[in-house]
Symmetry: D2
């Protein structure tokens, strides 16, 4: 499903906050052409005192909204104990950058039959990323989607440095689909659009974009979230680039 | 126990390979003055096809050898499911650099009553490292030991770049003891001695050193392991530096 | 001239080796659609024992070939003493990544009336890059072209990590044209094409590409040089991406 | 002179501001035991609008104060055109981190007969640093002193990450003396002392320390400058570490 002529576009808030907000976001991103809904229920936060996500309640909300909107949903799994719950509610299980080296989690995901989106670690080499995928594949689960989300660097004006050559390398060296997260990859709203285009031109099979109806009030990652209106413009503007690459949106 | 006038010296092989080898190593590092025995039973390896450690059998071996030699033991826990087993056999539970951002694991370790050695992540800032410790402390477990083990960099002649200013910063900003791992921190045998001395001069409360009777045959990390004889020389040579800092070995 | 609807494409060998080779390369890249010829006469090499370039003889060769082919030429200036000579022969003076922080050179280039291509330093932040440009602009020379060429990172499979978000940032924050060097930016021949496309999609005003008739025999940077035939394919393939961005090639 | 049993201690302000301030600083650091006086006349500043140093007037001031205090002096040379002037006034010529890759400057310094202090570039590998020294040595000037001053990293609480394993590596691989700059290497006043001690324990042949009578009023680098009193305490505290290493101060 991911990796064909059609690019996949995943959109939604960083974290699931309320059912209403999620529904509003889902309705608008679907209208703009998104294929899939994202939203975090378990949030890996640097500080234990930051909002940690709604947990299972968030999973239920996500599943309900996805069903209502007829959109498949993706959410992060942080703990091997949560795999059954996340697998029950989500269509794709996401492994975040902070857990790319969590080999116990990867091994257990290798024994599920759900697709896994594997984000690249914040300082992982491409080789380590592909070997992390191998942990899942070796367990018998062949449905792995790679996701480039930027590496840590000394640059101060972005949150991470998005490495699009990693996309080209991964496409060259593996048969796995590769998508790009320009929201975390830059941490800067105005850079999401140019990097989404660049990602597609580099050969990515899709993008995952943070969208929030009121970014200034978001409980996390507001600075990098697009408004639904900005997302809608992004969808329109990436279309010609996709076409230039022989791909299509929806 | 860690953080007083006496520096702690932890030594042992990267991975537990056989009971005989571990016994030989323990006997020799104890003779040279080590306080505590290290050895990995669960090994976080970049590739799923590399040696993954002996698991519970390794834990049993470690505990048996530690008891026979009258040395407390430390070993890594990679998965929250393994906490009970590791806590049964080990005196200190180690969180490796690859799991510093594994917040689920940290939260569960906050609910145990065993000391935790928290290695700094390979690209973690000092702030993130201290906040990772906060995840354990916030759970009610106040026995956290920080361990600097080098950050990823572009330098090709070392495996990591050991950041001793992080030790001084952590000592300045927290009340937690801080130790240094010059073996992983450099990845180069000949650099272990000078970096052990530098660590102590920077204010570290101890060091953790990889020692293997036959580094060239080690199943992992042979290039950075000292022979027992080299470890014995190291112990002799760090002593005057410790004294200069108003500390002592044993 | 640079920064309008038309993208600029600069191509040629890393170093000027012989007049014959340069002529052959120029003839072929011009045929494929390149606007400008590049070639190094003064080469900043890591080792003093590596080929250092042909110096003034190289400059003369470059100017002769450029005139014969009716192509403007660009070459690097490494020393303020060489500015007059380089300015005599070249249409654009290039400051390499290793000299981005060479403020004496930048100040003197501010007093010339020739366009300057300013490469980003190998670990420079975007702010430092823009302030380096300011050194030239403050001297009265307003013809500055920025060039992103990749930053140093821990990735082992590429020579540098090309940072296309820096292109978008520089376009957003300055009025200066910005071009991209995917050859140095990746160091890997197979990545030049996808990164050239991605650069254009990110908003770059042009690209600079290393081309050598026999990359395997090149005196420097053979691994990242395209053959004239590969360059010709690249020119064909970037065209639709340029169009999608509302730009054109030639 | 540098590299023997006695460690060299170089101290002084970042920039030469006034003769009075420099004299006061020199008087105090000499009293505390410094061997040599530092002070910048040509300052490599990120912005063209920051204080650029006093130039030749600064050189004259430095030489006058050095002579009056009977202290040899060291200052930075940024431009090959300035080599004669700097060589006339200074006992050691310093190449800053931003010019480590300025091969034209290095080559010309190879033809002088003055000692050169070569700082490691902000993202240079140890190999590149040693090859930069080779540019000077290959010209016939064998008096090269290496200086580690920290590498750029993603750490936010320090200005650079001081890499003391580079000191040990350089001592192991070359016969050149190696000193450490903990002021630039950390950018944080409270870290200068622990890193000075650690540098000596790592095998450094000396340290270079920024001292300013009124750091809060310094025209540059105030945050990392010690007061004369703090410098005096540092001198007293590094002495036992030096002794432990079989070295001495003065």
């Amino acid at each position: 499903m991911i990796g064909g002529e059609q690019l996949i576009v995943i959109a939604g808030p960083c974290a699931i906050e309320t059912e209403e907000l999620l529904k509003e976001t889902a309705f608008k991103v679907r209208g703009a052409g998104a294929d899939m809904l994202r939203g975090g229920a378990f949030k890996p936060r640097t500080s234990p005192y930051s909002f940690q996500g709604l947990g299972v309640v968030g999973l239920e909300t996500l599943a309900r909204v996805g069903e209502a909107m007829n959109m498949p949903v993706i959410t992060e799994v942080m703990d091997s104990d949560d795999i059954p719950a996340v697998a029950e509610y989500a269509d794709i299980l996401q492994v975040g950058a902070r857990n790319m080296h969590n080999f116990s989690l990867l091994k257990k995901l290798g024994r599920t039959n759900k697709p896994v989106l594997l984000k690249r670690g914040m300082a992982a080499t491409v080789e380590e990323w592909l070997l992390a995928a191998e942990y899942i594949l070796a367990g018998g689960n062949s449905q792995v989607v790679l996701c480039e989300r930027g590496s840590r660097s000394a640059e101060k004006w972005t949150r991470n440095t998005l490495d699009l050559s990693a996309v080209a390398l991964a496409k060259e060296l593996t048969h796995l689909p590769v998508i790009v997260d320009p929201s975390h990859g830059t941490g800067v709203r105005s850079l999401v659009m140019p990097m989404a285009k660049a990602a597609i031109a580099a050969g990515a099979d899709g993008i995952i974009i943070e969208v929030h109806p009121h970014p200034e009030k978001a409980l996390s990652d507001g600075d990098q979230s697009l408004t639904p209106r900005q997302f809608s413009i992004l969808m329109r503007e990436i279309e010609p680039v996709a076409k230039a690459m022989g791909r299509r949106i929806r």
